[in-house]
Amino acid sequence: MAKSIKLRAKAKDGVATVKALISHPMETGLRKDKKSGKPIPAEFIQEVVCESGGKTVLNAQWGSAISKNPFLSFKFNGAKSGDSIKISWVDNKGNSDSIDSKIK
């Protein structure tokens, strides 16, 4: 599950705008396979955590109603260009991924 996250963070006047795009199927568990008629098992991200400079900036809990290949954007204060930023996710099957980057 490497490189599932695309991350962009830009700082302007001390406010960082973070945009993240995660490639993930986000199956609800309600859909059925059209050929076999069997339900497709649920597979969705449950938790997304963003840290910057060692502090947790955002802790998101997601249900299965978040769209496929989820997009998330948020802002935080007190950021400057060059600060470290990390985003990680965990899904209901225990898969996870994270990315380390720097604020531009």
Partner: protein, 156 residues
């Protein structure tokens, strides 16, 4: 001996009542809140989902929360939602879709420096109210907007 039997019965009855209250979402222990809020995400009613996610279903309508969503979503599988709150001390934000099978889509806990701004994309089964709930200073505020869906995004 009889006396002992009575106390044992009483004890197990009391424990049973607490267990039932926890599973009904009436009592939410801290340990459960820290982990993924399973009850809240699996709740089928808006009130139950809000109680599980935010601790209460009693929210005051507020125009200080801006909920940006399309009036008509052609594809219910991808509905862009942006929530901005200008209420001081906003700590938690939730996005719910009233008529989805499980209304709670997501909950966001904001860090001390994080602005009350979240933008994401959600699935909608059919035309429904989208509800944004914000917790600030221990109180709940909400705002909602109807989004018309032409093609559903849940199930196939």
């Amino acid at each position: 001996m009889n006396h002992n039997r009575r106390t044992l019965l009483k004890g197990s009855l009391a424990a049973g009542a607490v267990g039932a209250a926890v599973s009904a979402g009436l009592l939410t222990p801290k340990a459960v809140m820290a982990a993924w809020a399973k009850d809240a995400f699996e709740a089928k009613e808006v009130d139950a989902a809000m109680t599980g996610a935010m601790g209460s279903a009693d929210a005051t309508a507020s125009d200080k929360i801006k909920l940006k969503a399309p009036d008509i979503a052609e594809n219910g599988a991808v509905v862009p939602i942006t929530v901005t709150s200008s209420i001081d001390g906003t700590t938690t934000m939730s996005i719910l879709v009233a008529k989805n099978n499980t209304p709670l889509t997501s909950t966001y806990e904001l860090g001390p420096n994080t602005e009350a701004y979240i933008s994401t994309r959600v699935k909608m089964g059919k035309t429904s109210d989208v509800i944004a709930v914000v917790k600030a200073g221990g109180k709940l505020y909400s705002t909602k907007k109807e989004v018309k869906v032409t093609i559903g995004g849940c199930g196939g």
